[in-house]
Amino acid sequence: MSFSYPILPEGHLLAIEGLEPPHIQALLDLAESYALLNRQGKTQRDLLKGRTLINLFFEDSTRTRTSFELAGKRLGADVINMSVAQSSVNKGETLLDTASTLNAMNTDLLVVRHAQSGAPALLAQKVSAAVINAGDGTHEHPTQALLDALTIRRHKGDLHGLVVAICGDITYSRVARSNIHLLSAMGAEVRLIAPPTLLPTDVDRLGVTVFHDMRKGLAGADVVMMLRLQKERMAGGLIPSAREFFRFYGLDHEKLSYAKPDAIVMHPGPMNRGIEIDSAVADDPTRSVIGEQVEMGVAMRMAVLDVLARNLRRNA
């Protein structure tokens, strides 16, 4: 696939906010072709041959790291995983010290996960590599939103006009923020369902509709996107208990019946079964596309790596 103009012209993928719809469209189209190749068992090991991809994870994540690792390897990159324990030295020093180390190693592609919002953006200013944000604090997780959009597209066709309900811990969710920006940009109607204590202030100004009643929020939805509830939210007093949360905001078949009959159910994982989602829904093959999200994750990340490597060649 070739493009008549550069995708992600700033050379990094730090956030969905600010991306133009044609760029999102092009990334999704490219990922679609990788999804096909992956299913056919074909690889393109020459595409990133000689390129070094470093997975720099300041926070634990098996799923996202493995997905990027697989994507890099399928395109022929040399993939190195670096896990930097948060507890060790001064965190800030680690970040900038790491940046200079990575520069010295001539890293081409740098995948960063960090507990602090904006950390990948700070790194991007200091490293010569193309930086991919793999989740920063409560800011964004752009490749998750892209892979979610890819999964939705495969089931529902065009994103335009779809009703997508995002449910759960919105305040602390980078997945929710990236999805809000992406789905809104592509013309979907985004609804947020959560108690007020789990909704960030003025979130309605991001172009979404807010619901506190899950059944009302789910009415007529094409897509139901559940979020992981962190245990810390209960310790912080934002919700009184897990059982109360499940009763009012956990997705079970009864609440799901308010959505469209063919509505799909998504979750970025890892799931808290019995807290935000009932196992009967999560494991329902007619509704749940949670496994497919993981599959699309690899294809989507291959597309992102491909596009950023093209930019590296262009700027070389």
């Binding site: 800030g92 919002s117 604090g137 991001l206």
Partner: protein, 423 residues
Amino acid sequence: MTDLLITNARLLDPATGLDAQGSLLIRDGRIASLTGAPAEGVPTLDAGGACLAPGLVDMRASLGEPGAEHRETIASAARAAAAGGITTLCALPDTSPVLDDAALIHFVARQGEATGSLTIHPFGAATRGLQGKEISEFGLLREAGAVAFTDAGRAIASPRTMRLALGYARAFGTFIIQHPEEPTLAAGGVATEGELATRLGLPGIPMLAESMMVARDIALARLSGGHVHFSRVSTGAALDLIRAAKAEGLRVTCDTAPPYFDLNETAITGYRSYAKLSPPLRPESERLAVAAALADGTIDAVVSDHQPRDADDKRLPFLQAEAGGAGLATLLSVTLARYHGGDVTLLEALALLTCKPAKLLGIEAGALKEGAAADLMLFDLRRGWQVKDGQLPGKAQNTPFDGRALEGKVLATFKAGRKVFGA
């Protein structure tokens, strides 16, 4: 013996309303005459029509000394102050050790004298160790030279402690300076709660945290008969409460700092940690409210809120970066922007930086008075310059105004008649 005749100047004294072309005679480091008295044998400086005003009185700055000399020392802060036209300054007690002991108050004041360019009036800690529990020895600290009491960047959270502090301070003719931010509402926050913080994924502080504390402390001032001063007021709601308290005749005063009437929260876009301040920058509506309160007299003083930070404090992810901006060198010019913008008269702008804080503090400074120490600032009202970090005087380079084009520049600063800055 310091004698000098400054001629061809626009003499500006907000204390008396003087605004006239003329000359000023300095004898023995004191202002001898504003009326062109004969001055034979005295060296002459032709001001070339520039403005000559009292040296500025900055009633809030952190100096880094003792305890954080890698950020700023009293000597380096004095250089920055001189370049900013500041000749008198109040130092915050959040040093290491904390200024809650008479010997430390003496030390800081003496270090100021040693610079030869800056008079330092320290603030004493309102509570021992800034712990917010027991009030410190106001009487002994006052005798040692502390002009007022504050827990600096920490709010005095306990209503009981605040009530006691306000009441006890009355016995010594002094007042309490509060950081108006309700700490449990503000806990963990690094930006003003709202759309921008939500987009950036940064924990927010509701603006109510400020007005709630202001409302509480106004009530405590009413109860105790004490004088509360709110520092770096940054929201319209808090200013409305202060305006009403003043109208009621309560002993309530306040200041603000240039970032709150010159910048808004969009300065933190892109996680610019140099614009991370405490209190955080606000939406444009609040900036306008602060500017309006400067114009209508609700705000009693403009302070630099100088908070020196080094690169290691700032070049971090936004949440981890330290709050605070350097402010000494830009205090006058950013305040003059309100004059150039037509909000306040030139004398009103200068009053907020000179006679008003001096009167509040009960100190002899900030006026062109015959017989007073010749602490003076000569400035060009129209000269443009651009703020650049790395090129500021003094050690601290963490300005939130990096790149800001300003109009009005200090040409020379005099301390007791001696030139301490300028060609």
